[in-house]
């Protein structure tokens, strides 16, 4: 087993430090868990049932963080949530909040989602709280059958005494769609990795990430989408803010395999640097083995756009208010997709508190 976390699909110069996550993201050493994990005990939306065991078709799906993290979650999960969504349109989201505290400094959650043909399911995963050397890890495996729509919303609001690992893997069948929305705000180390296999014709995937790093935070992302099906479509959007001595690595890879004709993959990233000691690293890969595809990547990294600042100040905002507004705007695409008003407010409050309300 390779213990590296968030490995770049195609390695590059080792001195760039992007081939894998930094040492600070090493998994904690935990004793082997003897008690079986507890199943999800909350409410289930209509059309969703709880499974006692995960079907092999779901269990075999790898995540974007790599075998080490997947294995870690399987070995140490204290909570499992195996879901089967049937046909029909489910409106109400399923929400599970894991809270770290001095009484529970470790939370490990294994999600398995089998989305039946034509089904729809929204899952909201919230992490908050903190503990000395706290650790929260989750693995979400998704099998989206033809026409299914699965939306995963991940909100990480941990305190800075804790670390988190969030791994997602999905297989997407014909006409199905998977959406991952994540807001990463807390934790001394926050590592995330997605691997989405667009196998069926016209399968779709979208990823919207917003993050805010400050203090000594380390953020590490490895997002990979593999196009094997014809007419498949992916959109990867990441926006973030880095202050103080925080650092971030984003690996975003669109992999067009031979046969993925007419596939389209777009990736976009904007990074706002608030501090001369923050560090941003980005490795946006496009791998292509098919002629008839369209792949694009765009990234911008830098400071506040002076023209925008000037405009906002000319409308009566103070420079601090204008900057605050511009930072909040980076979270807007993610906030818009969070169904719970209270969660949206909590995220905005978190940002405001860290910026110092103007």
């Amino acid at each position: 087993m390779n213990s590296a976390i968030n490995r770049l699909p195609v390695p590059t110069w080792s001195w760039t430090g992007v081939n894998q996550a930094e040492d600070s993201a090493v998994l904690p050493e935990l004793a082997v868990r003897k008690a079986p994990p507890l199943p999800y005990a909350g409410e289930l939306p209509e059309g969703v049932e709880l499974l006692s065991a995960l079907p092999e078709a779901v269990a075999s799906i790898p995540s974007g963080m790599g075998e080490a993290v997947d294995r870690f979650v399987l070995d140490h999960a204290d909570t499992v949530c195996y879901l089967r969504a049937q046909g029909g349109k489910t409106v109400a989201p399923l929400t599970l909040t894991r809270t770290l505290s001095s009484k529970q400094s470790v939370a490990v959650t294994h999600w398995g989602i089998s989305a039946g043909a034509g089904s729809a399911l929204t899952v909201v995963q919230v992490l908050r709280g903190g503990a000395d050397h706290g650790a929260a890890a989750d693995l979400t495996q998704i099998d989206a059958e033809p026409g299914a729509v699965v939306r995963i919303i991940q909100i990480q609001l941990l305190e800075t005494d804790s670390r988190s690992w969030s791994a997602v893997g999905a297989r997407v069948a014909e006409g199905a769609r998977v959406e991952v929305v994540r807001a990463v705000l807390g934790g001394s180390v926050a590592a995330c990795g997605t691997q989405i296999q667009l196998e069926g014709r016209a399968a779709e995937y979208s990823l919207d990430t917003a993050y805010f790093g400050d203090g000594e935070q380390s953020l590490d992302f490895n997002d990979l989408v593999i196009h094997t099906g014809k007419d498949t479509h992916s959109e990867l959007r990441t926006a973030g803010v880095l202050g103080d001595r925080s650092r971030k690595i984003l690996r975003g890879t669109i992999d067009f395999r031979q046969g993925a004709v007419r596939a389209v993959g777009h990736e976009n990233e904007t990074v706002l640097l608030l501090s001369p000691t923050a560090r941003n690293r980005t490795a946006p890969l496009i791998l292509c083995g098919e002629e008839l595809v369209e792949g694009q990547h765009a990234a911008t990294v830098g400071r506040f756009e002076e023209g925008q600042l000037y405009y906002l100040c000319s409308r009566g905002l103070s420079p601090a208010q204008a900057k605050h507004l511009m930072i909040e705007a980076r979270f807007a695409p993610v906030l818009d997709q969070i169904p719970d008003e209270a969660l949206r407010a909590e995220i905005l409050e978190n940002i405001g508190r860290r910026l110092g309300q103007p």
Binding site: V10, P11, T12, W13, S14, T16, G17, V18, N19, F256, Q258, G259, V271, L273, L274, S275, P276, T277, A278, R279, N280, R281, T282, A283, P284, L285, I286, L287, C288, G289, E290, E291, L292, V293, E294, G295, Q296, H297, A298, A299, T300, V301, G302, R303
Partner: protein, 472 residues
Amino acid sequence: MSRFDQEKTRVEAVDRSVYDIKDRVDPSFEVDSGLTSAIVEKISAEKHDPEWMRIFRLKALRTYNEMALPAWGPPLDELDMEHIVTYVRPKTAMQGKWADVPEDIKNTFERLGIPEAERKSLAGVGAQYDSEVVYHNVRAEVAAQGVVYTDMESALTGPYAELVRKHFMRLVPPTDHKFAALHGAVWSGGSFVYVPAGVSVEIPLQSYFRLNAPGAGQFEHTLIIVEEGAYLHFIEGCSAPKYSVANLHAGCVELYVGKNARMRYSTIENWSKNMYNLNTKRALVEEGGTVEWVSGSFGSHTSYLYPMSVLKGARSRMEFTGITFAGAGQNLDTGVKVLHAAPNTTSHITTKSISRDGGISTFRSAVTVAPEAEGSKSSVSCESLMLDSRSRSDTVPVMDIRCDQVDVGHEAKIGRISEEAIFYLMSRGLAEEDARALIVGGFAEPIAKELPLEYAVEMNNLIHLEMKGSIG
């Protein structure tokens, strides 16, 4: 006959075999294949190295033996140093007149158009054949400006010996990577250029590297110093006939660009498709200076090539314009590196790559902005064209930004030739093959326009040649 038929006839008249003509292998001296300290000592002795260089070579060899092969990039499994001859001396000393160069070697360079180019459009020419420079000349009026253009061996022991010693492999130390260490151990040939402060060399200098011997390596070293306020355009060309055994090119280019100086370095690389091209190029740019790289990669079996610029002085600039064309059997890993190490530095990178007939093209880059580089700007634009689904085209860029007062942009696109554009051109009477060649030529046009006319024509011809047979 339509004008497009005429175009096609002209293209067919360009014959790739000009690069593939093999001279009889008749060296005056060569070392055994393989890489040992005895071989390195032998090369050093044969070249009458100063003592410091002999020690330098042996130390580099130790570094080579200690370093691992890269853990990234195209496979190098079939490159066996036990079967590479690292030094092959041709049967001539360096000459200052083409008439004095042996007939067969001179004919090879004639076919490649070097003496003609020298007469028409160059300020000076160096021609290397296998491991040694066989011809070097610079126009009298350029020399009169104080410009030095000579072979590295002469520079190593001549009046510029101390300058060479001060700069040789300081930008690219042997510890940089395994093949830089190899270069340090067995380098031979190459050019030394010194342009004094304030001197503008209005027409380019060119060095051409020809590798004739099968199973041999070429390890030329190019060291260029452009002093404050000076300007130089240097052109590098290279080719080799194709053999069934692997050849190796591990050259090294070091450019020192002074305050407010400008240096343009153009390369048309057309090595044969049995060549491992593991070349290292680097520039150090002082305050207000500019380095411009123009790079066309067409040949080689395997390439690792990433010219690097260190923007050391405030307001220094780098521009990189490159094209890579990977055809059957080729795995070309090319790109660029830049380090912004001072305030208000600027880099612009524009690359195009084309893959066809099973060829693999990888664009690899690293843009690093150091904490002290406030006010710096960098833009990267990378476009890849896939001509069939047997080929590959990968893009592997990295940005490392450690400063908040910067503007960094990156964009990459990958795709195919538009069917609508082909249909339109065919509706105007072009055959499909010509339509595709025209579109690919247009794709490469931003690169071609950066090259001197003769080289732009050569590049376009190479593209047309590569495109022949691309249908069906």
